[in-house]
């Protein structure tokens, strides 16, 4: 049981560092997905721990929300790419000024 949660924590941390370190918007997005997946792993592990299926249902909802989020996020990345010809998160900093 503990090992599943530890694996989930490690994957979550890697996702976090990826979001902070990578500059390509798509890769940043992939790291967000990695974090969501790590959370799902913890949910499923806890469902088994407690012997009820609520954790699995939550993981299922997380997947649905992640699918919706990917659709919108990738559409935004494409729109930004069309106007700026770049998928780097540094180039989309116009709101700063």
């Amino acid at each position: 049981m503990t090992e599943y949660i530890v694996l989930s924590a490690i994957l979550f941390t890697i996702g976090c560092v990826g979001v902070l370190v990578r500059r390509n918007a798509i890769v940043v997005f992939m790291c967000v997905e990695l974090m969501l997946n790590a959370c799902n792993l913890a949910f499923v592990a806890f469902a088994r721990q407690h012997g009820n299926l609520d954790g699995q249902i939550t993981a299922f909802f997380v997947m649905v929300v992640a699918a919706a989020e990917v659709v919108i996020g990738l559409a935004i990345i494409m729109t930004i790419f069309r106007t700026r010809r770049s998928a780097s998160v540094d180039d989309a900093s116009l709101l700063k000024y």
Binding site: M1, T2, E3, I5, V6, L7, A9, I10, L11, F12, T13, I14, G15, C16, V17, G18, L20, V21, R22, N24, I26, V27, F29, M30, C31, E33, L34, N37, N40, L41, V44, A47, R48, Q49, H50, G51, L53, Q56, I57, A59, F60, F61, M63, V64, V65, A66, A67, A68, V70, V71, I72, L74, A75, I76, M78, R82, A87, S88, D90, S93
Partner: protein, 275 residues
């Protein structure tokens, strides 16, 4: 057992996402992580989530990632310039701290005995999930449908582009090409096709110009950005090898030697002579 096989693989693939330079490789590594996760779900008595993980995550979401990657160009590389100074190092240090705090904290917690899902899954995992999903979580489920509709609409709105200028006709394009030729001297005809006069006709081999140099414009820009363009002179090496062998066999009778003209053939023959 499955866990100890898959966990190092997953961590290695996830770490790979941080380090690979190309976004496509990151997507493939993410696929490794997601498929391994699916198998972990199967081990943890969640066959429904196993199927959903493979269908939705690896099947749909990752394919969407790859689609967008192909649309915005695979050559969109990571910039190495740091906008905030020292951000990368700080992020790594903070990540290590965060990770170790999480891992140490979790390893000190005792979770008690694992109840297991045998009882909950007694009538099958999918019917059991359906029972809960359509009773206790029915409103969340309905809200999900609204979310999906909104997401589909949003994607359509974001991806839609109004045409602001009239579409360029063939006559316009031809006129522009000739104008470019007149003003900037751009060649108005088609670009040279790859592999012409080179010793290979693959698309990643640049055409050779009459002076023997490679024509950059004959290879797709995408291939050049990926760095997979072969160098035409290097490709000639194997042909030189063949010539050398032929020259070695027909050494006694020079008249059967193939016509080796130019620089490529001469050193090969001299090398044989030395031997």
């Amino acid at each position: 057992m499955t866990f100890w096989l898959l966990a190092p693989l997953m961590v290695a693939a996830a770490l790979g996402i941080l380090f690979v330079r190309k976004a496509v490789h990151a997507a493939l590594l993410l696929a490794v992580v997601m498929i391994s996760l699916a198998f972990l779900y199967a081990v943890m008595d969640a066959p429904f989530l196993f199927a959903v993980q493979i269908i939705v995550y690896t099947g749909a979401i990752l394919m969407l990632f790859l689609f967008v990657m192909m649309l915005i160009g695979v050559d969109a590389a990571d910039s190495v310039v740091e906008t905030i100074r020292g951000q990368r190092a700080t992020a790594v240090v903070l990540g290590l701290l965060f990770g170790s705090v999480l891992v140490i904290g979790i390893s000190q917690v005792t979770f008690g005995t694992v109840v297991g899902l045998d009882e909950a899954n007694a009538g099958g995992n999918v019917p059991a999930i359906a029972n809960i999903l359509f009773s206790r979580y029915v409103f969340a489920f309905e809200a999900t449908s609204a979310l999906l509709i909104t997401a589909a609409l949003g994607a359509m709105v974001l991806a839609h582009r109004e045409r602001l200028t009239p579409r360029a006709t063939q006559a316009d394009l031809a006129a522009r090409r000739i104008r470019d030729y007149a003003e900037h001297g751009f060649h108005p005809g088609p670009l040279p096709s790859p592999g012409v006069y080179a010793r290979h006709n693959a698309v990643d081999t640049p055409a050779l110009l009459p002076d023997g140099t490679a024509a950059e414009s004959s290879v797709s820009r995408v291939l050049a950005a990926r760095g997979t363009v072969r160098s035409a002179p290097a490709l000639a090496d194997d042909i030189d090898d063949v010539r050398r062998q032929l020259a070695g066999e027909g050494h006694s009778d020079p008249s059967t030697m193939p016509e080796t003209s130019g620089k490529a053939g001469t050193p090969a023959n001299t090398e044989e002579d030395v031997k």
